[in-house]
Symmetry: C2
C-alpha cells in the first residue's frame, strides 16, 4: 500500500464526513457517543485481549516501564473510557450556539455562530484511552477526526476503533467521521500534517520531542502544548497557611503532570519564616530541593545547589527548584523569562500585587491563592480536554469542546445593500 | 549588515517591548495614537516628498499602474491615515477585559482575561497607508509590531515610521513597540516568519501569491486571507426586489474587493423571472456575464459560456459567473466546494432555508438578504481591520483589535488546593 495514496483517501473521506458532521444534530451525536460507550463496556474482554497482544510485543521490544504503564488497559481504564464518552454526551453541544447579535447602523443584524473546525488530526503516543477520548470530543464538537496513535498500541487502538465505528453506525452517522489510521508506517504522520486541503488543525499529544517535531514540520495549524514549567510565587503579604497548603499541593499532588509546580519563588522577606516549614514537608514526601544560594543559607546543605538550567526545567519528578526574589517585579520577570507560559500562581493578600500578577504574567492560566494543579479541563468545567495549549493563537490553556470549534459571522438583513 | 543578525536584534527588541506594551494603560496608548496622528498631519509635505521619491523609482522601474495607484499618497490619503489613527484611539481597549467568571465546585472562581498576542509581524505590499493602520491596531491591542512593507514604498514607510516613533516617544512608550524594517533585503521576510521565539503571529496583507508563499514557509502562526470567491444564491422564495438589489450591489458596488460576489447562483424555478432584469442592469454597468448553458438559454448568446474554471475564479473585475441550481442543496454544495469560505449570501423569504444556509455554508460570513459587501471591519463595527481571515483557527472573517488578542484563564482562590 502506498502511504501517500492511503492518507489522501483518508483525508478526502474525512473532509466529506466533516460536512455531514457539521449538520449532525445534538441527539444524533449523543446517541453515537452512548452507543460507543456501550460497545466499549460490552467488548471489555476483546479490548483487553488486543491490549495484551500490544503489551507482549512492547515487553519483547524492551519498552520503558513508564511507556508500558501508559499502554496498559485494565477493567478500570476500560470502564473509565466508556464513562468518559457518557460524560461527553452529557456536555452541552457547542455547535450552532449563536450570540452577540446587535443591529449595525446599516440595518443589518450581526452576530456569531459557533461551528466545528472541520477535520481534526490527533497524533498521540501509545495511550489507547486517548483514542476514545479524542474521538468523543471531536465528534461532539461536530468535527471529523483522523487519529494516529503510537504504533505500540496498534491492536488496542483498532479494537477501540471498532467500538467507535459501531457507535457511529448505530446513530446513522458516516463511519468516516472518525478514522483510526490503519498503518503503523511513520510516513503517515508526515502526510497527515501536510494536507491543509483535508485537515484543518493538528493536535499532538505526547512528549516534548513529538510535539516539537510535528510543529516544525506541519503545514497545518497545530494546537500544541509543549511543556509545563509552572511557578508559585509566595509574596511577603501571603497568608502563611494558604502559602503552605498551596505550595505543598502544587508540587506533591502529582509529580508527572504538566500543571505541577516546578519552581517555587519566595519573597526574600518571607523566606526565613515559611521555607523551613515547607522544606520539612517536602522532604517528608521525598521531594529533592534545589535552591539558590540564599535558599541554602536558610535551609542548609541538604538543599542541592540549583544551576541556571534548573530554572528552565520541567522535572516531572519529585524535584523542586526554589529561588528567593526581591519582590513582585523579580518574580514576574523570572516567570515570563523562564516559565513555559502554562500556569503560574501568586500567594498574596495584597490586592494591587494580585492584580498586577494577573495582568503581567504571560501564561495560559494565572492564579491567586490557588494551586496550579487546578489548570485542567475537568476542574475548569470543560469536561474532558483534548490538550492544554501553551500557544496564544486560537486556544490557550485547557482545550475542551469549545477549543475544537470556531465562530463564523452571521448577518441577517431585509435586503440591505452597501451604500 | 548581516540580515539575520539585524532581524534577531529587531525580534529581541520587539519581544522586550511587548512586555511593556502589555502593561501600558489605555490612556498612554491613546496618547501615542493621537500624537502619531498629529505628527502625520503636520508632516504631510514630508510624507508626500518621500512618496514622490518612491513613485519616481516605481515609474522608472515600469511598475504596473494598479501598483503605482496603491503606492501613491495624496493630501486626502495622508489625512485619512491620521483620521484612522484617531478612530483607533476612540475604540474601546480590549486588553484586560475580563468575563465569564463563575465559581467552580472546588471553590475557585474562574474567568478569562483578554491579553495581547505579543509580537505581531505584518508583511504587506507597497501600500504605505498600511504602515499607519497596522501600527495603530497593534498598538491599541497592546502588541509590539514588526512591519515589513513592499520595498517600492521604502521611503514613504520610513517617513511614516518617523511619525509613529514620535508618537510612541510622546506617550512615554518604548520606540521598539513599533519597528519598521530598515532594509529592503528580501531575506528579512524569511527571517521574520521563522523566529517563533520572537514573533507570535504573522499577518500577511497582499496578493494571493505573497500570502501563499508566506503561509507555506512560516514557522509562526499566520492569520491569512487567501481570496474572496463570494456567492449570492437567489432562492425561488426570494423577494424579487431584495434579490435584484442585493445581487446588483454585491457585484457592482466595487469590483476589486474581496467581499464582491463572483458567482451568482439562481434557483432554476426563479431564473426566467429574475435573470433578464438583472442581466440588463449588469450589462448597463459594463459587467461581462459568463453563464452555464441554461443561463445562456434564458439570456442569450451575449452571455459568455462559463467553463468549469469560472466557478473557482476570483475575478476582482467586472465579470460575473452565473449558474442555475436545482435548489438549496445544490447551492450549498456548490458554495462549499468552489467558494473560498469568505462570504456568501442567500436571498430568501423561507425561514427553514435561511436557517439551513446559515448553518451549512462553511464560510467566515454567512448572510440572509444582505449584500456580501457588508463583510468588512468597519461595517461590522470593529473599527479598522488588520485583514479578513478565511482560516478557521483563531480569527475568522474581519480581524480587528479583538483578533489581535487572546484570552488567558484567571483563577481567584482563597488557598484552594486540588483534592
Amino acid at each position: 500500500m502506498n502511504v501517500k495514496d492511503y492518507m489522501q483517501r483518508v483525508g478526502k473521506a474525512a473532509r466529506r464526513a466533516s460536512r455531514a458532521m457539521a449538520r449532525a444534530d445534538t441527539n444524533q451525536k449523543n446517541r453515537a457517543l452512548l452507543a460507543m460507550a456501550d460497545a466499549i463496556a460490552r467488548d471489555q474482554d476483546k479490548l483487553l485481549t488486543a491490549n495484551m497482544e500490544d503489551l507482549a510485543a512492547a515487553r519483547a521490544a524492551g519498552l520503558e516501564p513508564a511507556m508500558i504503564d501508559r499502554l496498559t488497559l485494565s477493567d478500570k481504564t476500560v470502564a473509565a473510557m466508556a464513562e468518559g464518552l457518557r460524560q461527553i454526551a452529557a456536555l452541552p453541544d457547542p455547535v450552532g450556539e449563536m450570540d452577540d447579535f446587535t443591529y449595525r447602523p446599516s440595518g443589518i443584524q450581526l452576530g456569531k455562530m459557533r461551528v466545528p473546525l472541520g477535520v481534526v488530526g490527533i497524533i498521540y503516543e501509545a495511550r489507547p484511552n486517548v483514542t476514545a477520548d479524542a474521538a468523543g470530543l471531536c465528534l461532539k464538537s461536530g468535527n471529523a477526526t483522523i487519529l494516529r496513535g503510537g504504533s505500540e498500541a496498534f491492536h488496542s487502538n483498532q479494537a477501540i476503533a471498532a467500538c467507535v465505528q459501531e457507535g457511529l453506525r448505530a446513530a446513522g452517522l458516516l463511519t468516516e467521521a472518525v478514522q483510526v489510521i490503519e498503518t503503523t508506517d511513520r510516513a503517515a504522520v508526515g502526510e497527515l500534517i501536510t494536507m491543509p486541503e483535508f485537515v484543518d488543525v493538528i493536535v499532538p499529544r505526547g512528549g516534548k520531542g513529538l510535539i516539537a517535531r510535528i510543529s516544525s514540520e506541519a503545514r497545518v495549524p497545530v494546537i500544541k502544548h509543549l511543556d509545563g514549567n509552572c511557578h508559585v510565587y509566595i509574596d511577603d503579604t501571603a497568608n502563611p497557611d494558604k502559602a503552605f497548603n498551596v505550595a505543598l499541593n502544587a508540587k506533591t499532588h502529582r509529580y508527572g503532570t504538566c500543571n505541577t509546580m516546578e519552581t517555587l519563588l519566595v519573597h526574600e522577606a518571607f523566606a526565613e519564616f515559611i521555607l523551613p516549614r515547607l522544606a520539612e514537608a517536602y522532604w517528608e514526601k521525598g521531594v529533592e530541593l534545589r535552591g539558590c544560594e540564599r535558599t541554602r543559607i536558610i535551609l542548609g546543605e541538604k538543599v542541592v545547589p540549583a544551576s541556571s538550567e534548573d530554572w528552565d526545567t520541567e522535572y516531572l519528578a519529585p524535584i523542586l527548584a526554589i529561588k528567593l526574589v526581591k519582590g513582585l517585579d523579580e518574580a514576574i520577570e523570572h516567570i515570563n523569562e523562564h516559565g513555559s507560559h502554562h500556569t503560574d500562581a501568586i500567594i498574596t493578600e495584597d490586592y494591587s500585587r494580585a492584580r498586577r500578577f494577573l495582568r503581567e504574567v504571560d501564561s495560559a492560566s494565572v492564579m491567586v491563592n490557588a494551586s496550579t494543579r487546578f489548570a485542567d479541563g475537568f476542574e475548569y468545567g470543560l469536561g474532558a480536554e483534548i490538550g492544554i495549549s501553551t500557544d496564544k493563537i486560537h486556544a490557550r490553556g485547557p482545550v475542551g469542546l469549545q477549543g475544537l470549534t470556531s465562530q463564523k459571522w452571521v448577518v441577517l438583513g431585509d435586503g440591505q445593500i452597501r451604500q
